[in-house]
Every structure is written in C-alpha cells, then in structure tokens.
C-alpha cells in the first residue's frame, strides 16, 4: 500500500527574462494505491503543471509545499529517481527521441526501474503481449521512440509503458485527448489492466468526461486557475458534463470553494 501525498503545492514557471509566473496556488491531494482520482479542469488551469511538477520537469520551480511518496520527499529526487521510486507520468505530448528504438528504450527503462535486466525470454513475451493488447503493430518495436507516431499511437505507447514498468502511482495527463472512440477503449482497458494487476494509484487528468465512462474514478477534483475548487465522487463528473466549468469562472467561485 502506497500513498502519494501532495500538500499545499505551489509552482511557478519561468516565462523568460527572469520573470516567473505563479501557476499552482496551493494544491492538496492524497492518492492511495488502488484509488483512481480524476482531475478535471479547463485549458490552462495548470493540470499539466501539476503532473510535470510531480515528475520533476526542470521547467517548473516549486515555490512552496511538499510532495511525498510513502513519506519520502519526492521533490528532493532527480527525475529518474522519482521514476525508480514508483512514479510514472503518461505525458500529454510524448517526446520524440531520435535514434532510440522503442524496444531498446523499453528494455533500458525496465532495467533501470527494476534494478536488473529482465530475463530475455519473459521480456520478449511481455513486450509482445503488451503491444498486442494495445493493438500496436509489432513493427513499432523497431521504430524510434515516438518518431512519426500519430497522436493515438503515442498515447498507446505511453500506456504500454505503464503496463510494462508497473509503477506504484501513475499520472495520466490527458491520455484521452486525440483518441478516437476505439483507441480510447483500447487505452482505457490498458489502464484498467495495469490497475488490476499492480493495484497502482491513478491520477487521471482530463478535460472531458468521456474517458470516465471507461475508467471509473473514485474521486473527482475540479481544477481551476491553479487550485482544486471542488471535490466529490463520480457524480461530480456527471454534473460537469452538463454544466461545464463556467460556474467556477476564475476568481469568483474558485476562492470561495477552494479555501
């Protein structure tokens, strides 16, 4: 049983010329193994900033608060240490890495996370299974990481990593965006499989409620202007579906509900 604990997290981003812009204004969130938390919010509200800050992207500066995984200070760790500690981020915009094949990349990552090289036989089998489960052509193993992948292929590749690397906590940043309905189903099944198999905690960031029909959240958090403004169960997402984010219009609702 693991716990990811985010306390009063405040984050700024450098916007050039030494100027910083505050984006997260104090985020509190606790995720336990086996739980699925959905974070929903409008464009630009800071959802990716939250995800990247937890993963350790150098672009963001933590100006206050804490993030711990089972009591360990995540913010003190380097990016790769965080991953080895059990954190995983499926990115909204996965990065192309020229010259590195998917198969080489995955084996290197698996070796790094486990601290030892996987047995070749079982690894080849696991890789094959993961690819076919996500309906990825086997030839993807020889392609360069994300190079020339379509949006949907990139997302499937992210979830394939989730399945193979078996993290304790997975943050999925808009894994649903850019997917057609079939791909959405395939990808959601992958997330559910990973959850069932490893009991990982999931932080599911999304703009739309569509994916929540396939991946059932236990908790829904509404994220506006850099903070959580409302929290509830799955019913909250249904209300958002109907009402949208307007009633949280920046300033007015946010401060009242959030504080």
């Amino acid at each position: 049983m693991s716990t990811l604990s985010i306390r009063d997290l405040q984050v700024s981003v450098n916007v050039g010329e030494g100027e910083d812009k505050q984006i997260l204004h104090g985020v509190d969130l606790t995720i336990n193994s086996g739980e699925t938390h959905a974070i929903m919010g409008p464009n630009g509200s800071g959802k990716s900033t939250l995800a990247y800050s937890i993963a350790g992207h150098p672009k963001y500066t933590i100006t206050g608060g804490s993030v711990t995984l089972d009591g360990e200070d995540v913010l003190e760790m380097s990016v790769d240490e965080r991953a080895r500690a059990g954190l995983f981020l499926a990115m909204q915009y996965p990065v192309e890495v020229p010259g590195v094949s998917v198969s080489n990349f995955l084996r290197t990552a698996k070796t790094a996370i486990d601290g030892e090289a996987p047995k070749l036989r079982t690894w080849m089998k696991d890789l094959k299974t993961a690819m076919s489960d996500l309906q990825m052509d086997p030839e993807f193993a020889q392609r360069n990481v994300n190079e020339g992948f379509s949006g949907g292929e990139k997302k499937r590749h992210e979830i394939m990593q989730l399945e193979l690397l078996k993290p304790k906590m997975a943050i999925l940043d808009e894994t649903d965006s850019g997917l057609d309905i079939d791909a959405l189903r395939v990808v959601s099944e992958g997330v559910n499989r990973a959850k069932t198999e490893t009991g990982a905690g999931v932080l599911l960031i999304t703009h739309y409620t569509r994916i929540l029909r396939y991946i059932k959240p236990d908790f829904v958090h509404v994220f506006v202007a850099g903070r959580i403004v409302e929290e509830g169960g799955p019913e909250l997402s249904e209300r958002l579906e109907v009402e949208g984010y307007e009633r949280y219009a920046a300033g007015a609702g946010a401060a009242k509900i959030g504080d």
Partner: protein, 379 residues
C-alpha cells in the same frame, strides 16, 4: 579491364571540375571556392603546401593473406592513375609526393576470407600516401584502412573493382586529437560488381575525405556508409560524389554523425550525378546528424543532378535532430539516468551501421574504436 564507359555527354557536374595530377592546376584555395567553403583552411597545418613525407612521419603496416599480392607502383604505372585523378590540391599533393604507392592486388576469382589490414601509423610531421586496391574480376576482398597516431597526412585510395567482384573498404580515422587528414578515395566499379565503402571518423582536428564512385559498366552497385562523431573543436568533413555514368547501376549512401561540445563541426556533402546515358539506375542518399549539445554544428548538403528521367528511382534525405532537455526528461522520467540516456541515444543512433559489417574482426575493431572514443568524451 575497360576504362570508364563511353559517355555521350562529357559534361562534368559543376561541383566536380575535371581533375589533374599537376599540383599547380589546383591553386591554393582562399576558402571561397565551392569545394573548400566549409573547410577551416587555417587549421590545415601545411597540408596544402607541397611537401615530401618527413622521416618517420608515417608507417604503412600491411597484413595480407597469402593469396593477396603486395607490391608498389610508381606514378603513371597502371593501374595507378587509371581510376584516381586528383580532384583537389590535397589529393594532387598526395599523389605527386608518393613515389611508391602501395599496391594491393587480388587476382581474378580469388575469394579472400580474412581482411587485408593496412595500418597507417602516423608519427607526427608531414606525410603523403597513396594506396591502390586492385581487385580482379569475380574476386572478393575486404580492406581495412586503419589510421592512427598524429601528423598532417594527405593520402589517396584508388580502387579498381573488377567485373563481378565484391569489394569492401573500411576506412577508420582513429587519429589522435591533433591530426590533420585530407584524402580522396576513388573507386571504379566494374560490370555487375559490388563496392562497399565504409568510413568511420572519430579522431583528428580536421579530417576531410572525398569519397567518389563511378562505374566501368552496367549492373554495378555501390554502398557508401559513414559514421562520425565530433567532439568540441573537431572538424570532420565527408564529401561524396557518385557519378552514375552507366545504365542499370545502383548506389546507396548512408552517413550518420553525432556531435557534441563547443565548435564541434561536421560537414556532409553528397553529390549524385545521373548522366543522360544512365537509364534505369537506382540511387538513394541520406545523411542524419544528431546534435547532442549547444555549440555544435552539422552541415548537410545533399545534391542530386538528374540528366535523364528514365530511371528506376532517385532520392535523397537529410535530417538533423537535437538531443534536447525534453528528450532527456522523457527518458529520465522512465527511470533512466542522465548518463545512460545520453549513451542510449548515441549508441542507438550508431547501431545500424556496425550490423552491416560482416567480418567480425573488423566489426570488433570499429566497436572498440567507437567505444573508446565515446568513453574519452564522456558519452
């Protein structure tokens, strides 16, 4: 062996003026010439001054299986000079200043299993060289030309690929950091013959190689592969010219380079000329560069001149990618350390070329040279 196929159009590519053995026909460049515009002339350390080879400046060590004849050739003594006519001042000097060219001859129909290894050990100072690889019809051989040590070296390689022969040349530039090396490798590919030319440039302050191919008949194929790694301050320049002067010929050029550090510079110029007579040819050339850090610069100039539309295929591609913070973050976010991420990217980038080298000892030598060089520069 026949000379070049008679062509009805002797128009030379504008990038490749007719060569000459006379050094004075190649005036000292000022850097504005098309063929010299990328080269740092001030760092050539006298390579373009006509000078004899100094005492102890270079040692050619030849290891050749028994069926290969090793001798020497004077200027004008065939086949020396039948394939290579110096195309720039460096090649003209190398030719003029080499009284005895190394002649490596493989008789017709002889298949040589082990490579012929020519180790060029430079001991400092000015040196010139000329090697003639003379392969008879239907013979098969691999030549490893292994450059080590330091000095200012101008040298040529002239390759006669007999009809139906299979020839692989591997040229490793494993120089010490301060060497200067200018050279011309020229091959004439016989009817239905196949020629593979593999360049691996790792060391040296300035390395500039012209690798050229033309055909003596129909049905010949040429594969020109290259791999280079430039660290801070190094200049590695590879210029290729494939002259499709005969029908039904084939060429494939694939060069890959990685660069890192301040003022690391690589230049790749790939010229392919498809003459009017060269119908039904196939050609493809690609150059890929991976820039690992700021301050490094890769120039890549593919150039296809087509004088006939009656061809099977012709294409070229050039891509320069950066290894940047986002890629590093992505790999690290999967648990991979920064150091391993860099290693992964560079080795992955280079992996394909080594797999193409069939002879294990040659592959091991290249792997060793590449690994040592990468370790030296912290990759």
């Amino acid at each position: 062996m026949a000379g070049a196929v008679e062509t009805t159009d002797e128009v030379a590519s504008h990038l490749h003026p007719a060569g000459s053995f006379d050094v004075d026909d190649h005036p000292m460049p000022n850097g504005r010439e098309e063929i010299w515009r990328f080269t740092p002339l001030r760092r050539l350390a006298g390579a373009l001054d006509r000078q004899p080879t100094g005492a102890g400046a270079v040692d050619y060590r030849v290891e050749a299986p028994g069926e290969v004849a090793v001798a020497s050739l004077a200027p004008g003594q065939a086949p020396r000079g039948t394939v290579l006519v110096p195309s720039d001042r460096a090649a003209a000097i190398a030719s003029a200043e080499t009284a005895d060219a190394l002649h490596v001859k493989v008789p017709a129909e002889v298949v040589v299993a082990d490579p012929v290894a020519v180790t060029v050990q430079a001991g400092g100072g000015r040196s010139n060289g000329h090697v003639v690889l003379d392969v008879g019809p239907f013979a098969k051989v691999t030549l490893l030309l292994d450059h080590r040590g330091t000095g200012v070296h101008t040298a040529n390689l002239e390759v006669v690929v007999g009809d139906g022969a299979e020839v692989t040349v591997v040229s490793v530039q494993d120089w010490d950091r301060d060497a200067v090396h200018l050279g011309q490798h020229e091959a004439l590919v016989g009817r239905d013959a196949s020629y593979r030319h593999i360049v691996v440039s790792l060391g040296g302050d300035v390395v500039r190689l012209n690798s050229n191919v033309r055909y003596a008949g129909t049905g010949g194929g040429a594969d020109l592969y290259g791999l280079y790694f430039a660290d801070a301050g190094q200049h590695l320049e590879h210029r290729l010219f494939v002259d499709h002067n005969a029908p039904h010929t084939r060429s494939h050029v694939d060069y890959k380079g990685a660069l890192q550090g301040r003022d690391a510079r690589t230049v790749w110029v790939g010229d392919v000329l498809i003459r009017k007579i060269a119908e039904q040819i196939e050609t493809y050339e690609i150059n890929r560069n991976l820039v690992l850090t700021d301050g490094a610069q890769a120039d890549s100039v593919p150039n296809l001149e087509i004088e006939t539309g009656e061809i099977v295929s012709a294409g070229h591609a050039s891509a320069t990618g950066r290894f940047d913070d986002e890629q590093l973050f992505y790999l690290q976010s999967r648990g991979i350390t920064e150091e391993d991420a860099r290693r992964l990217v560079v080795r992955g980038f280079f992996a394909g070329l080594l797999e193409r080298i069939g002879i294990e000892t040659v592959r091991d030598r290249l792997t060793e040279a590449i690994e040592r060089r990468l370790a030296e520069v912290g990759v």
